[in-house]
Symmetry: C2
Subunit: 344 residues, 2 copies
């Protein structure tokens, strides 16, 4: 039997102290973390980046297959990813939780163990939050602060004609991981002690349950003296993100189907599920890879960076936003990305 301590026995302040007392601050920009009306930060003369995410049970995660520790890790990482997408470095995070009676102190310890692991891996300080009862499921709200040198912030709006379009890693695997988990859930509903066989599909599950933010790519770009002209992270799917860049930069784009990076496990799973592989890679979402543009003159530099693929180029806006197929046919991009509000 696992130990179960009711949250009510600690109360709000007791719970916060219990969960945060071991937190050690790492960053010189963190002056004061948890424990006052506000956290106090000092960024000297750097730009401050602020991004926030809301994750709701039943919409963004399903406890049938998401362990709390993984959820804590992912909640932080998806927030860090937005800071990297500005060419910044995440430094602080606040995490607010709405908790229903179903959760015990031990459950929250699990969540916090994932959260603090992510903070360690990415060098981020947990500096605050709010904790409340919830009448329904678990509510997670995270806000990440990061820093960037003044001339190093990269927006979605800076892409220029002839720029190369690049993407890190591979696409569609997180989506395939979700399909796999959903299928197993459907098949084995009710059969409690069943452990599905995921062998040979570990990469897909890891991409879905424990994604990483591309700290390494941002560092490699800096090391190779490449400053992207525009950048965004792939959370809603490649199509959706390309359309954001095209819209904000007032440009068109052309990408090539044959250049889209896809892992072998993703391709094999798509075949098994009889799904269109390119649709999954273009619209799957939750990849947390970086999509960015660089000047044509940086071609050799980005081509030399491992884990970055050049997938197309920026065009005049009147040429539209196009996917060029293997047969040379052109398709207009559509944002079919994950959209919880339209799906409702």
């Amino acid at each position: 039997m696992n130990k179960r301590t009711e949250i009510g026995t600690l109360g709000e302040f007791g719970l916060i102290r219990h969960l945060t007392e071991k937190i050690e601050l790492k960053n010189s920009s963190t002056v004061k973390g948890v424990g006052d009306d506000a956290a106090v930060l000092d960024y000297q003369n750097k730009e401050i980046l602020v991004t926030t995410d809301l994750l709701l049970e039943g919409i963004h995660f399903d406890f049938t297959y998401v362990p709390l520790k993984h959820l804590g890790y992912k909640s932080a990482v998806v927030n860090f990813s937005d800071v990297y997408a500005m060419n910044g470095r995440p430094k602080q995070i606040t995490v607010s939780l709405g908790i229903s009676k179903r959760f015990s102190v031990e459950d929250l310890e699990e969540f916090y163990s994932g959260l603090t692991l992510a903070c360690e891996v990415y060098g981020v300080d947990l500096v605050g939050g709010d904790t409340s009862a919830s009448l329904t499921g678990l509510t997670i709200s995270t806000t990440c602060l990061g820093e960037a040198e003044k001339d190093q912030v990269v927006y979605r709006s800076g892409a220029k004609e002839t720029d190369l379009i690049c993407v890190s890693g591979d696409l569609g695997a997180a989506y395939m991981g979700l399909q796999l988990l959903e299928r197993e859930k459907q098949i084995f509903k009710g059969e409690k002690d069943f452990t599905p066989d995921f062998s040979g599909k570990e990469y897909l599950l890891e991409r879905q349950l424990k994604p990483e933010a591309r700290k390494d790519i941002v560092e490699l770009l800096a090391k190779n003296d490449v400053k992207p002209t525009s950048m965004i992270d792939v959370s809603d799917g490649l199509s959706s993100e390309l359309l954001h860049i095209a819209r904000e930069s007032n440009v068109g784009c052309q990408i090539y189907e044959e250049r889209i990076p896809i892992d072998f496990q993703t391709a094999s799973m798509a075949e098994q599920f009889n799904m269109n592989l390119i649709t999954a890679a273009m619209n799957g979402g939750e990849d947390y890879e970086l999509l960015f543009t660089v000047p044509l003159t940086d071609h050799d530099k980005v081509a030399a960076i491992k884990g970055v693929r050049i997938i197309g180029h920026i065009t005049k806006p009147e040429f539209g936003t196009l996917l060029v197929g293997r047969d040379g046919g052109e398709v207009e991009l559509k944002a079919q990305g994950w959209n919880s509000l339209a799906q409702e």
Copy 2:
């Protein structure tokens, strides 16, 4: 009939654009607001204050009597209050919403009208957020960023023996307003077109439904050259906040019942409800007044500030945290403040 536009017709990005397109940025520290992976801020050489609040339907608000516009206003103001409590000035806010099908675009416009009104009144820029579907009620998560000169940040931990304990405004009215609203809800459950008579109790309702943060007090303190040694805002009740200061500063305190500021309407309502007035004032919560300590030498300066009352003084820790009654009897303070996690 009110117009009702379903949120699904706009989608997530459409909804965000619709609600935020008219936002004008006011602060020089806001470099980039809504519309990229993160907001970009520049605080030059000032300290950054960060605070976050989570508000959940059924726990923190009840749509039976809370209009959406008021809720938008209050969501922002309670967050600003935490920044003032650090002796800072709020400058930016992010607001994330989890929205169930029940809400229309017009409902969210109402919420945003209250939110942007608060931002105008307090000179704050709305710079970001996240919007998601929710399977249940409305979820609101706000994060406020504020600034302070480096040597002007006031923590909970700086109170010293013999310091004077001061509080702004009056206490217990917001709690009485809540009691009043709850009573009317109980009495008239089901009778839809009934409008309860709140005349003569407007102040109580306003304190509950449309609280203000004490920007004026923070400015008056600065103008009168008073820097508090410690400060906190009264959100959970005076007792609870005094205990925070005593704990963080490692001191005791002594406050006098007869000095606790209470409005006439609060007193009259307590009598009508047959409630203990001092309990309501000490533990009611949601007053959003400022509780602070100043050196004894600042007595004349704070005594001259309108709207500030000296209610006691700081003692050695071994003397405990005491409320001295009108009869001279001493009672140890207890945190009976609003605690949603213990109440569950």
